[in-house]
């Protein structure tokens, strides 16, 4: 990285412990079913499982064959079937079908379902309803947290976002609470907990409850502060195009569980290749947080250095040569390989992103963020829809327009939607209903504010029910106050100044200097102020539910230990790589180390895709 880290940055806790714990428990669970068995794994658990226990470990514990859960009849011949699944009704129903089919065929097998990270009552209800609760044994693999990198931990629960924010199904909240509890019991006690958002508050309460139930061992805190934030507090940030290297790679190639598959166009061979992207990759580690415009310069510099290192060979005697080969060459080769991969990836990105359309799209995004030239932006979006550029991107731009403008004018709202339906089919009516419910794509209500509505309702019914009603209505009346927030928190830097992307001066660099991510700005402000004091107006605009609680170990918090500068930021509903880059930048500036815990890594496409309801 171009800018050196502050020397007093504390060390990060060792999160590999989480993996070891998960692996030991899984092995224990597998051994609960002695003898050879076939293991069926939920597809989206494949990659996380791979990071915990590889195939040979599984085989050691008498797993015979591995299958992916595909909702098809099983062909296994084993008389013991083990299912490793997420607690989803659909999967449980499939297992019921499997068991019932065996019964009908007079086949006797033992079934064991391992739910991870926990089982839900509804799953057991399905087992009961289908009459096979007596035939299966169930267990829980409390694999809550997967460390993706030194400072990123994921719950790997992408459905958290839709279930919680769209469907109002709060069953994952307790899971989040348990994850927090696990971190607290291993790396706590936390001395200060901040948070904003309804879900954050509930997760916090669930965690508190679990702390009260269990006993706390006295130990040295490794993590001092915790910040919980709901994804719906800030939709703008994840909806913007990412321009930092890691974010771009995610947007274009899709990083899955810390691993990316580069196609032939990147590897410059006829095979595609899976590459782990984390701090172990020296080249990647240095460019992941860089604005894309710097990446090429950096890579070419790196290539030159590499060449010099290779060149050292010349004029070596035999002895020097031997040490060179045995000590340095392997590292150089490795670096060489990585370098050529990232150059390939960058080229591929360049090809896609330096086109006119992308530049114009960025320009539109920036105007939306700034609130200038809205008409032009709307025409751009209209053209985007009409030209059938991308189903997801068009929706993304529509949402961005709606949030930044606090809803669309009725005329635009109707015409843009109608055009979109013409482009992609009427089933997107349902998608629009979802977006509206989340407040992502709404119509401007003339003169209707939440407060006005509340008072209207308040007149009709007594106070208590009014609270409930506003809760129920809040999604309908959910308003974005982006413009006001942006002014209050100074999210959009003045555009007349030149922004040198090579020497970033604030977190805005992750969006080419056009916008400071709201989520990260909140973290910065709250840490600076040690609470929400002075941010009352902001929290009001964000719909409240903020909290700041001092942990029960008051004495410890006074000690200005290193742990106090380790801050855990938990995103409920997912976070983007850009946000992580911004927090890393903030950490370097202020001498913090941030650990990002998220329900899943997300980006604009993942968010929009999770809200689609079309039936293609």
């Amino acid at each position: 990285m171009a800018h050196g880290a502050r020397r007093d940055c504390p060390e990060l806790p060792d999160f590999s412990l989480l993996k070891r714990l998960a692996r030991d428990q899984l092995i224990y669970l597998l051994e609960q079913l002695p003898g050879k068995k076939d293991l069926f794994i939920e597809p989206d658990l494949m990659s996380p499982l791979d990071r915990i226990a590889n195939v040979s470990t599984l085989k050691q514990h008498e797993v015979d064959k591995l299958y992916k859960v595909e909702y098809k009849p099983v062909i296994s011949t084993s008389d013991q079937l083990c299912f490793l699944i997420r607690p989803r009704i659909q999967t449980v129903k499939w297992i019921c079908d499997v068991a019932n089919a065996d019964k009908a065929a007079g086949k006797f097998r033992r079934y064991k379902i391992i739910f991870t990270p926990q089982k839900f009552y509804s799953c057991e209800a399905v087992l009961e309803e289908q009459g096979i609760i007596g035939d299966v044994t169930t267990d829980e693999w409390s694999f809550y947290l997967l460390p993706l990198d030194d400072d990123i931990i994921s719950l790997e629960l992408p459905e958290f976002f839709r279930d919680n924010f769209l469907s109002g199904d709060q069953r994952w909240v307790r899971t989040a609470g348990s994850a927090l509890h696990l971190l607290h019991s291993l790396y706590g006690p936390f001395s200060k907990i901040y948070g904003i958002g309804r879900c954050s508050k509930m997760a916090y309460e669930s965690w508190r409850e679990q702390v009260a139930e269990g006993e706390q061992r006295a130990q040295n805190a490794e993590i001092g502060k915790v910040f919980l934030i709901d994804r719906d507090v800030d939709f703008v940030t994840p909806l913007c195009s990412q321009v930092v290297y890691e974010g771009l790679v995610d947007d274009i190639f899709r990083i899955k569980c810390g691993c990316v598959e580069f196609g032939p166009e990147v590897t410059s061979s006829d095979k595609s290749m899976k590459v782990m992207l984390n701090s172990q990759d020296k080249v990647f580690n240095e460019i992941r947080n860089e604005h894309f415009s710097n990446v090429f310069g950096f890579l070419s510099q790196k290539a030159r250095n590499l060449q010099t290192a290779y060149d050292k060979r010349r004029g070596m005697d035999i002895k020097q040569m031997r040490t060179f080969v045995s000590e340095e060459l392997k590292g150089l080769k490795q670096e060489h390989r990585l370098l050529s991969l990232h150059i390939g990836a960058s080229e591929s990105i360049m090809k896609k992103k330096t086109k006119q359309d992308f530049q114009e799209m960025l320009k539109t995004e920036h105007s939306l963020l700034e609130g200038f030239e809205i008409r032009e932006s709307i025409s751009f979006i209209e053209e985007h829809i009409n030209r059938q550029v991308s189903m997801i991107e068009s929706l993304r731009l529509l949402c961005l327009l709606s949030i930044t403008e606090n809803g669309l004018l009725p005329k635009d709202f109707r015409s843009l939607k109608a055009q979109y339906l013409q482009s992609y089919g009427i089933d997107h009516l349902l998608t629009f209903a979802n977006l509206r419910q989340l407040g992502l794509l709404v119509e401007q209500q003339p003169g209707e504010t939440l407060a006005a509505m509340e008072s209207k309702v308040g007149k009709l019914v007594n106070d208590k029910t009014a609270g409930k009603l506003t809760d129920a209505f809040s999604s309908l009346a959910r308003k974005s106050h982006f413009r006001a927030l942006s002014r209050k928190l100074n999210l959009v830097p003045k555009s007349d100044e030149e922004y040198d992307l090579r020497v970033p001066r604030d977190m805005a660099y992750i969006f080419s200097g056009a916008y400071v991510p709201l989520s990260c700005k909140l973290v910065e402000q709250v840490l600076d102020r040690d609470g929400w004091t002075g941010l009352e107006e902001v929290t009001r605009l964000l719909n409240g539910h903020e909290f700041a609680v001092t942990g029960n170990n008051g004495a410890d918090s006074k000690a200005k230990s290193d742990a106090q500068r380790i801050v855990l930021v938990m995103f409920l509903g997912g976070c983007t790589f850009s946000e992580i880059s911004a927090l890393r930048f903030l950490g370097r500036e202020r001498g913090y180390k941030f650990i990002v815990v998220t329900t899943a890594i997300t980006n604009s496409s993942r968010i929009i895709e999770s809200l689609l309801d079309n039936h293609v």
Binding site: F120, V173, R174, E209, Q388, Q422, I426
Partner: protein, 833 residues
């Protein structure tokens, strides 16, 4: 002080003393005559069944329960069948064994708890005799029936009846019998007169006590020690045989010179006994027979009952209660006349010290010379524990404390602990509480059990005081007492719900380990639902509230509590329960008031019960969702007409929801579907289900321009979209002439740069160039650049005097484009001037 040895009676090497425990507070009209008496060990309660043989309904036997000090706890007429035996369980419950083999269990307050039967066959043959016994497994009952068969239940809380094998030659009941517990087996020892048998699960073995002289005669009485280790057998000639209960050995044989069978015979031992003895009770005589040939005799004035204890025998009469025990060795050493034991000297030294006599120093010196001061203190502390009289206790403890002053590193713990425990013991020995526990018994039963017993007898204040005084952790101490207190409090019928709830809350507060839901469950059990609900409000853990609320049929409340808890599994439990309990309408109404539960249930229905989902929306008049539901459903339909009818329902619902946009869009879709179907039928175009855009594309690709035109007009496709599509399609099909014609049909709504771009995309520079001239001025540079005409671009840029455009052109120039570069730089400098 010298009187201490006054009631000591020598027996061999040891001494026995009889200490008065209580003047009994009861006033029994007929003394203990004609009653079945049962007194529980460890200072337990006393039960009396007076005149048990009365049978007529007009005069019933009376059942009375007293504390050990004779305070009446309960009394009521016995209305059930004739009782053979009365006994207490280890947890102070009263057992009454009836003639017909049923056993009734009462609590200490005379409340009926439950009953069980000793077997069906007993009803016929009747119980002749029964015994209640205690073993490591709990409390057991043994009976012998009219058919001379024994039946055992080793633990009444885990009832397993065992019928023992037949005893050869036994008619009616044996002369005497008892239950032995050894080697984890329960056996019966019985005497038929000449023969002695041991009965176990499978066999009946004849045994003979080793060394019993053949002239001794047949065994008429037997007794086993408190620990089941020793056995005493009495023959009809008055010979008393003692030995270990496995009958392998003999301790002693004494002739009591009394051939009359005694009323009771009980072992009197203590741990580390020097001279264990057997106490025999006749009408007017109490005889203590030791292992040596000695005995002690006490005259008796009124009927008595003996109660065997761990470390002695309690003698119960209608007027008083005594404890007969061997004097513990340490007490002997201290109080024996002219004893020179260190403890005795220390006690003396302290006495002299109190008199301010210098002799104190002499005594102390004497102990110190033998360096026995530590031992002396220890003796005094230990002896204090064994003394019943509080003055003696004080003397001994003061002496110990005095001695301690002269010791440097002597652990104060035993002293402090003994002081504490004695205070506790003294307080529970009070007649009003009536638990005459010795220190040895207390140690054996543990403080936990003592508190349990106090709680069981509802002595809550003293129990709490003791917990606090002994510093028992709240969880096991005060909280437990409070829990019991509260459970008992809620049963008080004379108080209002409000008052009880308040009282409970004030006392219990948030003591750790007290579960309000537990208390509430108790309240509900006694039929006080309202109180239970009030109490549940104090429960912090919602998970605990919900199951009880459901049990009480307060489902609405249960639901809101579950929602508050944030535990969706809990919410779901309630929802499932409600679904089964309520009719559909009420169920939906309930859900309606709980958005969290509703969305949870909706999620479930989406996956499991689509139809229910529709009903839910219907109930709520949620037309918007209902319409969406129909749209979703339409995609699952294969047939066009059912699809259309579903969409029509969606239109209706959208209209009801006043969502005219969606209604219109759905209508359009229906129109589109019909249009597509028509073309599919006519031309086999395969359009059904495509979007407007895709349909247009398909039509243009098929060359159905007219139909495309019609669609474009009918569906008000924006001009721009149509033009984009058409241009793209024409270029793709390389219909250049058509394209040119189209470009001239009217002014392009998408400009002409699009034409250039699209042509270039299919690499046709020649065609592209045709449209460069038509491009607007602003886009000229880009158009020229698109067809890589640098000169043209440069001209256009210079013409427009636009610096940034010039720079763009410049950046595209390579070294070979010298001319252009020169022109541009000239223009740039000119511009700057």
């Amino acid at each position: 002080m010298s009187f201490i040895t006054a009631n000591w009676n020598p027996l061999g090497e040891a001494f026995y003393r009889k200490t008065e425990l209580y003047e009994m507070s009861w006033s029994l009209r007929d003394g203990l005559r004609d009653s079945l008496v049962a007194a529980a060990p460890y200072g337990g309660p006393i039960a009396l069944l007076r005149e048990p043989h009365r049978r007529s309904p007009s005069s019933r036997p009376q059942l009375e329960i007293y504390s050990a000090s004779g305070v009446s706890i309960a009394s009521f007429p016995w209305k059930s069948g004739p009782v053979v035996q009365v006994g207490w369980t280890v947890s102070d419950e009263l057992l009454l064994v009836q003639e017909d083999g049923s056993v009734l269990i009462y609590d200490i307050f005379g409340t009926f708890k439950r009953h069980f039967s000793m077997g069906q066959e007993v009803v016929q043959s009747q119980v002749l005799e029964a015994q209640v016994f205690h073993s490591p497994y709990g409390t057991g009952v043994a009976i012998v029936t009219g058919s001379s068969r024994f039946t055992l239940a080793t633990n009444i809380d885990d009832l397993k009846l065992r019928r023992l094998p037949e005893v050869p030659g036994l008619q009616g009941k044996p002369i005497c019998w008892l239950v032995l517990t050894q080697d984890r087996q329960t056996k019966v020892l019985l005497s038929t007169g000449p023969d002695l048998y041991i009965l176990d699960n499978t066999s009946c073995t004849a045994v003979s006590p080793p060394g019993l002289c053949p002239q001794a005669g047949s065994i008429v009485h037997m007794s086993v020690s408190f620990s089941y280790k020793y056995l005493a057998l009495l023959t009809d000639t008055g010979h008393l045989w003692t030995g270990p209960s496995h009958l392998q050995d003999k301790l002693n044989e004494v002739d009591t010179k009394n051939t009359k069978p005694p009323q009771q015979m009980v072992w009197c031992r203590r741990p580390k006994s020097q001279q264990p003895s057997v106490v025999l009770l006749w009408d007017k005589l109490l005889m203590v027979v030791g292992v040596c040939q000695d005995n002690i005799q006490f005259p008796i004035e009124e009927p008595c009952v003996l109660v065997g204890e761990l470390d002695g025998v309690r003698i119960l009469s209608s007027s008083q209660q005594d404890l007969l025990q061997e004097v513990p060795l340490v007490c002997q050493e201290i109080f024996k006349i002219a004893s020179m034991a260190p403890g005795a000297l220390l006690l003396e030294a302290h006495r002299e010290y109190q008199k301010s006599s210098q002799k104190a120093d002499e005594y102390l010196r004497e102990i110190k010379e033998q360096s026995m001061l530590g031992e002396a203190v220890r003796q005094c502390v230990e002896a204090a524990g064994h003394e019943y009289d509080s003055n003696t206790q004080k003397d001994l403890l003061r002496a110990a404390s005095f001695g301690k002053c002269f010791l440097t590193d002597f652990s104060p713990d035993p002293f402090v602990l003994t002081c504490r425990e004695l205070r506790v013991l003294n307080s529970v020995r009070e007649s009003s509480v009536g638990l005459p526990l010795t220190h040895t018994q207390f140690k054996q039963m543990t403080q936990q059990v003592l508190i349990d017993r106090l709680v069981y007898r509802q002595f809550y204040p003293i129990a709490i005081e003791i917990c606090r005084y002994l510093k028992i952790p709240d969880y096991q101490g005060v909280s437990r007492v409070l829990k019991h207190w509260a459970s008992c409090k809620v049963q008080q019928k004379d108080l209002t719900d409000e008052a009880i709830a308040r009282a409970v809350c004030v006392k219990v507060g948030d003591s750790p380990g007290v579960s309000y839901s537990h208390i509430a469950a108790k309240a509900y059990e006694c039929g006080r639902t309202e109180l239970a609900i009030k109490l549940l409000d104090f429960e912090a853990r919602s998970g605990e509230q919900v199951p009880l609320l459901l049990k009480m049929k307060r489902s609405q409340l249960a639901l809101s509590k579950a929602v508050e808890s944030g535990d969706t599994d809990l919410v779901y439990t309630v929802v499932t329960y409600l679904k089964n309990e309520m009719n559909r309408g009420d169920f939906f109404m309930t859900l309606r008031n709980q958005p969290v539960a509703l969305s949870l249930y909706r999620q479930f229905c989406k996956l499991q019960e689509q139809e229910t989902l529709k009903d839910l929306y219907n109930q709520d008049d949620d037309h918007q969702e209902l319409a969406n539901y129909h749209v979703t459903a339409s995609y699952r339909e294969k047939r066009l007409d059912s699809r259309l009818s579903l969409l029509q329902s969606a239109v209706d619902e959208y209209n009801k929801a006043k969502n005219d946009f969606s209604a219109k869009a759905t209508e359009d879709e229906m129109r589109l579907l019909r249009f597509q179907r028509k073309l599919d039928d006519e031309k086999g175009a395969g359009l059904l289900g495509l979007s407007v855009q895709a349909t247009l594309e398909a039509l243009l690709a098929l060359g159905l321009h007219k139909q495309a035109e019609q669609l474009y007009r009918d569906f008000r496709v924006p001009d721009k979209r149509y033009w984009w599509l058409k241009v793209k399609s024409l270029v793709e099909k390389e219909e250049w002439e058509e394209l040119e014609k189209f470009s001239k049909s009217k002014k392009s709504p998408i400009g002409y740069l699009a034409f250039v771009d699209i042509c270039m995309k299919s690499n046709n520079k020649y065609e592209a160039k045709k449209y460069v001239s038509k491009v607007t001025l602003e886009q000229k540079v880009r158009a020229h650049l698109a067809v890589s005409d640098l000169e043209g671009a440069a001209d256009a840029a210079i013409e427009r005097k636009n610096e940034s455009e010039m720079a763009t052109v410049l950046s595209r120039c390579s070294a070979s484009d010298r001319l252009v570069i020169d022109r541009l730089s000239r223009a740039a400098t000119a511009g700057k001037k």
